[in-house]
Symmetry: C2
Subunit: 286 residues, 2 copies
């Protein structure tokens, strides 16, 4: 038994999947869910992702040992302000948000000294959303990044590590700003790249030829990724601006170097790049 | 009955699938296959993609009414030189190659005046290859581009159109250079973009953080396309250099404009681009 009581704020795919896995492993005695929509919370109880729910945040976090923030990143600040007066000393607050950076210091500063904030980010697929998509195996083998700083309570960090490891996650500790840079390269940049490719089909140089009508495999492979929520990606690009721009700059340099190799008939140089891409593929999908 | 005899040069996925479809529709009395490997040709006969095969090119094209070149583009010139003396007047030579441009005039000039060359390119998926991957429905609803020039024999063009339409293809006539520009944007550019993205993960700015270890959906969507044959893509990029560079330039302009929108907090401008990408997706997959 890791905790007597844990509160999950936002019981969707991410929060609900953690609840399901913790209940299955019997690592937590009571899981309380908090959210704004009674229907979703009711469903979460029915699939055994949480034991009970509260529509009042103070009640949901009262007497709890760990709070997981699993709502959109934009809500974290307001939630921490609201719950701060109601947490008992020693409570751990952690999150599952995809942007860290200055956020970690900001949330730590918002909470009383005797409350321990630990930044976290399980890198789990998010093609579907909502508690009905939750599954107890989502975190099996899933990379989860924790982002301690020099101010992070070590005991709290160990307990959050134990929590994620108990549901099968592989935990790594990474500096919050490095976390944002990594995510910018492996997640945000691919979306910039895919959106830009689709937009290029409308470039005045080619649009009159209606290229999209003749697209086969090549372009179509990009259409799934370019179909993600426009609002979500606007928020991610703007909230992680510095790291996203760093990724775009590195990418433009790479494109420029491939272009030079094509112009110089450097077939060997091209083959080297293509082979490296195949190697990386092996690492990314293993 | 469209033709009494057709010869397919190279009986792999593309040639074999056309043979299968033609045999099924009973549009051609006899289909002769030519290739270098007896084993593959034997298989082609056994699945009824061709009626018989020759390992001698002169014998394979003698008395035939239409020759389809379905080998790699790099072999077309030599094949045309070799077969030219053995074709009977009025024979149509067409191809299924993915690069056109100056090629069309070059092959037309190589063949005697009374032989009619018609450039063609069925835009069919090519994830698998070889005759055992051939299927009689590959061209059902498949866009096939024919690339007539002012020197193209109209009757021959009509017969090639009828051939592709008889197996379910949707035929469009496009200038050979415009064909190359379209393919550069919808097929070659996506490969440049995917290879460059993988290569960016090795950029000195990020490589020390081992980003690939933390890749989820975003990067993984690109790994399939970046797994194609390095040698094939080197040849395509170098043989269609002018159009590929045009595509890369248009793409770089687009990336630059997205970057500016992020730097200027132009959320509305980003949403516009992302929504357009979703619209294009609808067109590309319909």
């Amino acid at each position: 038994m890791l905790f007597k009581q844990v509160t999950i704020i936002g019981v969707g795919l991410i929060g609900g999947s953690l609840g399901l896995a913790l209940k299955k492993k019997k690592n937590v005695k009571t899981i309380v869910g908090y959210g704004r929509r009674r229907g979703a919370l009711h469903k979460a109880v029915s699939i055994n992702a949480i034991d009970r729910y509260c529509l009042s945040l103070p009640k949901a976090v009262k007497d709890t040992e760990l709070v997981l923030l699993a709502t959109p990143v934009g809500t974290f600040e307001a939630l921490c302000r609201l719950m701060a007066p109601h947490l008992k000393p020693g409570t751990i607050v952690t999150d599952a948000g995809s942007v860290k950076g200055d956020f970690v210091d900001k949330l730590t500063a918002l909470l009383p000294d005797e409350i321990h904030f630990v930044g976290g980010h399980p890198i789990a697929g998010r093609e579907k959303s909502g508690v009905m998509a939750a599954t107890g195996v989502l975190y099996q083998g899933c990379r989860t990044i924790l982002t301690p700083t020099p101010y992070t309570n070590r005991a709290a960090l160990e307990k959050v590590t134990a929590l994620w490891e108990s549901v099968g996650a592989k935990v790594a500790e990474i500096d919050p700003h490095d976390h944002d840079r990594i995510l910018s390269f492996v997640s945000h940049l691919p979306h910039v790249v895919a959106y830009a490719l689709m937009e290029t089909m409308m470039h005045p140089r080619i649009a009159p030829l209606s290229p999209v009508e003749y697209s086969a495999g090549g372009l179509r492979d990009f259409t799934r990724i370019a179909a993600s929520s426009p609002e979500m990606w606007r928020d991610i690009f703007l909230s992680n601006k510095k790291a996203v721009i760093e990724g775009i700059d590195a990418y433009q340099e790479t494109i420029e170097s491939i272009k030079k190799k094509i112009l110089n008939d450097d077939g060997e140089g091209l083959i080297e790049i293509f082979k490296r891409a195949n190697d990386i593929r092996g690492q990314a999908t293993r």
